[in-house]
Symmetry: C2
């Protein structure tokens, strides 16, 4: 494996990409220990500093974990969320199921809040209208991945205040009660924000760590405004396929 | 404007969301100075610490800029990239045009590299095949936004080694030479990585700042494998609409 020095791609990044390629292609499957720094440095004919940098970047990006005194191991691959393939947005529960993981949901709270002007506009609500805010921590095989915030109009969704929404799909639950489901091709805006202390503590990441912030104005199967979703997702555990 | 304390959404985050709402709805347009900390703290009946936190988070997310001794100003809105709306991926040039900005491209280098196994597999190339790597810095109204890396098979694209690809759409250029264009609905994977020193210096951001990393295996209008794109985008300047 000869790397090209002095080119457009720094050496450590070439090592990163080669290792990622090997991980994706199953040469180093999840749970497996990758070769030591000394071995990698020999394999690629690069310095150990270069190897160390490549490995620590891949660890920061969520691909590898260093274990003190034991070596460096391949993480389980990131959850892959498909968006907009054939106009279907995968739910978190479906995303997990597709990868053989068990989706969990811990209810952090349910409250009634006043709707903002922009929210009232989208949902078609009058002045003073209120929303039910359901805040849950979503896990995949018990690993915290996402803080889920769904806002339904209070009127018509009062039942959410009494519902048991642990470890369940809120979309399925609401469908059983109202017959309404998200249409699935609503516009989603995706940005990156920094984890606040509260978010960091719930998601078990460092304060300031980047999170995907996904906001969706959901309509239902008949195109009627339905709910507003605001999700915060750990970047190092998640990939979007769009 | 009465905020609700002790609820599921921390006070500073409610202030953030209200300010974002006001910015998006044009109450505070780009370039405008927002009310001072003292004024905001009075408007929302919250402490100045809460206001300061909301404002500095919005600055970190790219919505506001603090100017020493002058106040806090609303930034130009983030570039919005539409993906997968009617199966069309917006090019960078189109994304800028839609927002009335001038897309620029500075060529950082063009080189020939050996194709990795995964790259050969997608592009249908044999052992030892080579790629042309075109690396450019993309700007919008002269602000660096994206490091663009496009990899074409060397065979058939030798002309790229001699081409002047400054301030031009590489897709348009290649189309003129070969008649081939990206089909536009190829699978794109989107993750977040940290800016390396090289990336940070090119994009004029801090080392470690989060970047979108977008990888696309492009096919052409006939569904034939075409090129591989690897783009690094400044998160604080960019929003995906999907």
């Amino acid at each position: 494996m000869k790397l090209e020095e002095g080119g457009l791609t720094p050496l450590y990044q070439q090592v990163m990409e080669d290792l990622k390629d090997d991980i994706e292609r199953g040469k180093y499957p999840a749970g497996c220990r990758i070769p030591s720094e000394a071995e990698l440095s020999q394999m690629y004919s690069v310095s150990r500093i270069t190897v160390r940098r490549a490995v620590s970047e891949l660890a920061a990006e969520g691909y590898l974990s260093k274990k003190q005194g034991k070596g460096t191991f391949v993480n389980r691959r990131k959850l892959i969320r498909k968006i907009c393939q054939k106009s279907e947005i995968q739910s978190f529960t479906e995303t997990c199921a597709e990868d053989g993981r068990v989706a969990g949901a811990k209810v952090l709270g349910v409250e009634v809040v006043k709707a903002r002007e922009g929210e009232r506009e989208f949902l078609g609500l009058g002045e003073g209208a209120e929303l039910v805010h359901v805040k849950r921590l979503r896990t995949a095989d018990d690993v915290p991945i996402m803080l889920e915030n769904n806002f339904y109009p209070l009127e018509g969704f009062e039942f959410l205040l009494e519902a048991d929404l642990s470890d369940t799909s809120i979309f399925d639950y609401v469908q059983k009660r109202t017959g309404r489901v998200p249409r699935g091709d609503d516009l989603c805006t995706l940005e990156v924000v920094r984890a606040s202390p509260e978010e960091a503590s719930a998601l078990k990441v460092a304060v300031g760590e980047p999170l995907f912030y996904e906001k969706i104005d959901f309509t239902d199967q008949d195109g009627r405004p339905f709910l507003i979703g605001k999700q915060y997702i750990v970047c190092s555990l998640y990939v979007f396929n769009i």
